[in-house]
Symmetry: C2
Subunit: 352 residues, 2 copies
DNA sequence: CCGGATGATGTGTGCGCACACACATTGTCA
DNA sequence: TGACAATGTGTGTGCGCACACATCATCCGG
């Protein structure tokens, strides 16, 4: 027996009404008598009607518009990879009448974020994908989306208060722990108490929760390990002399065994380490400068945040929600991928 | 101007023929006059007609059947994860009239593979996903598929001679190199020449190319590193006394610094290492027994082959090919994922 | 008592394509 | 020349749904 799919027509016949009435009940539009409504509903319950989403999109020929609110940074490879992910997804969903409208803002410019977000609001898209880099500003925007009942997905940075239908990214706390473990790997047994450093480079810590979380994880690991100390260094301007001095001072510590850079700027540290002492170094993201130092051995490990897959997955989630009414995972946490010299190539080939 | 999508109807009008004729030209079915054909083709060329695949599948109500030829091993977590991946994909593609028909064979039984494969052939599916574990047998089957013009995708194990429309898996050679690197990490500087072992457990090496490739990569790495030696051990029966003896002998080597298990059976080694000396240990796959030892620190790293994603990706590739006529990557090589204690959880949450 | 407003429901059309079928035209041979 | 194939071409229908529109009964005020 081929289990036939039940259509609106079937429901109508079984309830003894017309398909028009079923349609009205299903979509709660128009008016229907109490009697007809209950008849349809009872049939609906026992038959488990599953609408054919393909046919749905075909008929009305409606267009779904997804707005993407991500940084535009031609010089930042991380966000370039993100944009590639958006393109991937746009390709995949082109068959359904689904278009992606990019709204861009500048890194390090929270006002431009807010401005772009308001442009999104005005466009009234069917869904939004956003990278809420600025926490306080994002919180305000999110409220608007909620009011307008526009479903949205957040990637990269979590807004704990409200992530929309889904947050796609990584567990920052665990990421910090992982970084610590990777540094600790090189720890020689039976050595005197060692110290490790965590560096926040080029980002406003107070407005970026994930950095705080990373540090918390990093410190927790070493607390458990014992006999080690952790120092924190925050640097806004890499070009200034202050950075060089701080770093030199750090490297001057004889007990220093490793450095964890919480952002994607590990190459800045590797660059200065060349002339000085070599300590273990862990950072983030497959930027070409980072890769160079990884290959040279100055960076020991990189943790891959996979922006490309985050972005495409974000659009996928949103599209599935809009087209197929598929509920999304509230938190879609990506694996914390460890990159070394020998598995690097396998990542470049596939994701990047 | 909203760039309208051009339909068959449009082509017909512009070519001055009926949609029936356009249909015949497009699908090369029925007979058409030279004149009509060329008229349609010329319009087709300049208009870049893109068929609406959604509507295509809607009308005829045709069903697409994908056969999956993978091991059935209720006690083997690796293949259980694979089956989950198949289910994932089946869910995703349920909207299109696409069904997955499982054909199962037994691990360690090449005859059952051939038998199941012939059952697939008889069923004449629209596409096949297979894990060609037995190289010689698979080669024979592949020829049949090719003759019957049934598109197929291979996962997990590569048949270099012919992979169908796509092979999805990992680069085994590089995987061996990575394993070597991970073992070498623990190498203390300035120690006397060390030796490393590679163990093939429970598989017929000669009929499994990927194991040979892994060993080749493993050896190449240490050759480059210098001052190290590599020993190979092949073990078919883990329960026998021979295994225990060989392993004890291995662990007796004072120069031994690490062991690489080329299959998913690293836990067998870890288990015997408890009473003996601890050396570095690298293996494959997130089996619960392996995870236990990873957490305990007896296994240092696991390389994740991501069977679940391989399987779902395989069906995706096939479905995209069948439904959307989307060409597939010939070799879709997955990243070589390094699992440690601290990133393990992030993998369990997402992929597994 | 009839026209118009209103509520409840049924009917029809189109989305883009595949495919079956009907029809027109020509050629062929008894 | 009429019967009949062979060949080319056009028309019609259905897929499942959304949505506009048509229909019908009821009720109310003038």
């Amino acid at each position: 027996m081929p289990e036939k799919t039940i259509r609106i027509k079937d429901i109508a016949r079984m309830a003894g009404v017309s398909i028009g009435t079923v349609d009205r009940v299903l979509h709660k539009r128009g008016k229907t008598s109490q009697e007809a409504t209950s008849k349809v509903l009872s049939v609906l319950q026992k038959m488990e009607y599953k609408p054919n989403f393909i046919a749905r999109n075909l008929g009305s020929n409606r267009e779904l518009r997804i707005a993407t609110l991500v940084p535009h940074a031609p010089s930042d490879e991380y966000w370039i990879q993100c944009e590639k992910g958006l393109q991937d997804a746009a390709n995949d969903w082109g068959h359904f009448n689904l278009t992606i409208e990019p709204y861009l803002f500048e890194l390090d410019n929270s006002a431009s974020f807010t401005k772009a977000a308001h442009a999104v609001l005005k466009a009234k898209p069917d869904g939004v994908l956003m990278a809420p880099l600025f926490h306080t500003e994002a919180l305000a925007i999110v409220k608007f989306f909620t009011d307008e009942a526009i479903p949205f997905v957040t990637i990269n940075t979590e807004i704990t208060e409200c992530n929309g239908i889904s947050f796609i990214g990584q567990n920052a706390f665990q990421s910090g722990r992982l970084a610590a473990e990777l540094l600790y790997l090189r720890n020689l047994p039976g050595e005197e108490p060692a110290s490790y450093a965590i560096l926040h480079i080029n980002e406003d810590i107070d407005n970026a929760i994930h950095l705080i979380e990373k540090e918390r994880g990093f410190r927790e690991f070493f607390k458990e390990a014992g006999k080690t100390s952790v120092v924190t260094l925050s640097i806004i301007d890499v070009t200034g002399a202050e950075f060089a001095e701080s770093l030199d001072e750090l490297l001057g510590m004889r007990s220093l065994r490793g450095i964890f850079v919480s952002t994607s700027k590990a190459f800045e540290v590797a660059n200065r380490m060349i002339d000085k002492r070599k300590v273990s170094l862990v950072g983030y993201d497959l930027l070409s400068k980072n890769l160079d130092y990884l290959k040279k051995g100055l960076i020991d490990f990189l943790i891959h945040q996979n922006p490309r897959r985050q972005a495409s997955q974000g659009v996928n989630t949103l599209s599935n929600y809009l087209v197929f009414r598929k509920e999304a995972k509230q938190r879609d946490l990506f694996p914390l991928e460890v990159i070394t010299r020998e598995n690097l190539q396998s990542y470049l080939g596939s994701d990047l």
